[in-house]
């Protein structure tokens, strides 16, 4: 059951300010419409995970951890490992987050991250098969939102991608269907590096990387995921508003460009 959310808690004064600035292609924190806030990435901070990364975009802070376990493949892809993404809006991250089982926002978030990774074939799942139909590696990606100041989709996907790039799996042999772990590690086999770029529409302006105040009053959100070949791999419109067809065309063009520098940053120190 999806329900119309309660309206923004941003004050009317602030709302007007943001709207007026947007009409002049300007933003409250002085950024241009196509600027991201400062992005910082810390890798490998959780030693007990196979891989981990913490991504900050401005004051938004997201942690992703990767755990590998042995399990069964899906019946329709018996020769592939399994990728599973889970996101939790931890209540420390925002006064509006509520406890309880994942709501539609965290489910949507997890599924967008999942689609970016899955559709771009980021992880080489074929290489994670041990015994077709019986035993494969399961890649658990768990995303914890630690502080919410807008643009969770980009921050979460970057954190997930950085955590995958940081992931080490034990060397192993397969002996008669049993996995025997050996000394040493290898990186997770990766094929692609999808990078989403998220836009907010405020008034008639389309701006990247909305911060929380901007999200609170945007009419529409649009995320364009771009893979390493400059192809679109995942798109999601969100919010209760509408977009002109040309908004989408503009966003696609900009995302293809913007994703290049972002990808360098994310792969960067890996």
């Amino acid at each position: 059951m999806s329900i119309t959310p309660k309206p923004s808690i941003t004050s009317i004064l602030e709302q007007n300010l943001i709207m007026e600035l947007a009409a002049k292609s300007r933003r409250v924190d002085g950024r241009s419409l196509t600027d991201y806030r400062e992005i910082r990435i810390e890798r490998g901070i959780i030693e007990k995970a196979n891989g981990s990364a913490q991504v900050s975009i401005g004051k938004t802070k997201v942690m992703a951890g990767v755990k590998l376990e042995l399990g069964e493949p899906f019946p329709d892809t018996p020769d592939e490992g399994v990728l599973t993404v889970n996101a939790e809006f931890t209540p420390i991250a925002s006064p509006t987050f509520e406890l309880g089982p994942p709501g539609e926002n965290s489910i949507e978030l997890a599924r967008i991250v999942d689609r970016n990774l899955r559709e771009s074939k980021a992880v080489d799942l074929k290489k994670l098969c041990i015994t077709p139909g019986k035993k494969v590696f399961i890649v658990f990606i768990d995303i914890n939102i630690l502080n919410h100041d807008g643009n969770l989709i980009d921050a979460s996907t970057y954190a997930a991608l950085a955590a995958l790039l940081n992931t080490k799996m034990s060397n192993f042999e397969v002996n008669d269907g049993e996995v025997i772990f050996k000394d040493g590690n290898q990186p997770l086999p990766m094929n692609n590096y999808p990078v989403p770029v998220t836009f907010a529409k405020i008034g008639r302006a389309l701006m990247v990387d909305p911060q929380l105040q901007e999200e609170d009053i945007m009419s529409t959100r649009l995320t364009i995921g771009v893979d390493k070949d400059g192809c679109i791999c995942a798109v999601q419109k969100g919010g209760m508003g509408e977009l002109e067809p040309d908004d989408i065309r503009n966003a696609v063009g900009l995302a293809v460009e913007k994703s290049k520098e972002l990808r360098t940053l994310i792969i960067g120190g890996s």
Binding site: I3, D76, E104, C231, Q236, V252
Partner: protein, 254 residues
């Protein structure tokens, strides 16, 4: 009981597995006012998709604190019947159903003039009885008609259709096998008269040129479907007028 992987999705004549041309819609059947109790209802068949939509409201909302002072709340549930898919679907709501409920609600929000009914709720229940690809689009098409049937004012009808890529071709209105084994799927919803997009999702792999082609094709599909929606409404409206015309006495004309 899993069906095999199809050898190719487009044959040597450029036709699809079900015989359609790349830009051809599946056969669509629309019916309005099919349920006894709902305030508005509609049924759509699109290929093998069979979807029933019921609308209740505007009505009182429980719990009371969920109401909004300046508009009606929209609630939307998209749900697949356990027998609707190849493998039986567990009756508990899946993450997929929860996400689709959200994007459908968001696709309808811009059209519904919810400001006319503050402190109420409009419930939109979408029951997918058989699923064969593109059910969120078909659900939006039928929900739009069910809202109209319930007498809820809208700025425009919402029309919806997907496009995508399979066998190297950009194609319209993917069915299940094309969705599963194809290269990309992009569901779009359009308020045709306003020329405004209210749903856009995509997964797969499209270069920017392919994206543009598919996006344009999907919007074209929406326009065709809008024609069918209007036709269905006319038929329903006519039906009502005729039936009302035959009533013996109708002083207040309601």
């Amino acid at each position: 009981m899993i069906k095999g992987y199809p050898e190719r999705l487009i044959d040597e004549n450029g036709l699809r597995l079900d015989g359609r041309r790349p830009d051809e819609l599946r056969p669509i059947k629309l019916e309005i006012g099919v349920l006894g109790n709902a305030d508005g209802s509609a049924y759509i068949e699109q290929g093998k998709n069979k979807i029933l939509v019921g609308v209740y409201g505007p009505r009182e909302i429980h719990p009371k604190h969920a109401e909004l002072p300046n508009r009606a709340v929209l609630r939307c549930r998209y749900r697949m019947a356990p027998f609707s898919t190849e493998e039986r679907k567990n009756p508990a709501p899946s993450r997929r159903e929860i996400e689709i409920s959200k994007v459908i609600r968001e696709a309808l929000e811009p059209a519904v003039m919810s400001e006319y009914y503050p402190r109420t709720v409009i419930d939109i229940f979408i029951e997918a009885l058989q699923c064969d690809g593109g059910t969120r689009c078909a659900g939006i098409v039928a929900a739009s008609l069910a809202l109209a049937d319930a007498g809820i004012p809208m700025r425009d009808l919402v029309s919806s259709c997907s496009a995508g890529k399979a066998g190297g071709e950009i194609i319209l209105d993917l069915f299940d096998l094309e969705d599963k084994y194809g290269d990309a799927d992009m569901p779009v919803a359009l308020m045709v008269n306003l020329n405004m997009i209210t749903l856009l999702q995509m997964d797969g792999k499209l270069n920017p040129m392919e994206f543009e082609k598919a996006f344009t094709m999907a919007m074209e599909g929406c326009r065709k479907i809008r024609g069918l929606q209007v036709e269905a409404l006319k038929k329903r409206y006519q039906g009502i007028v005729e039936r009302e015309g035959t009533s013996e006495f109708d002083e207040e004309g309601t």
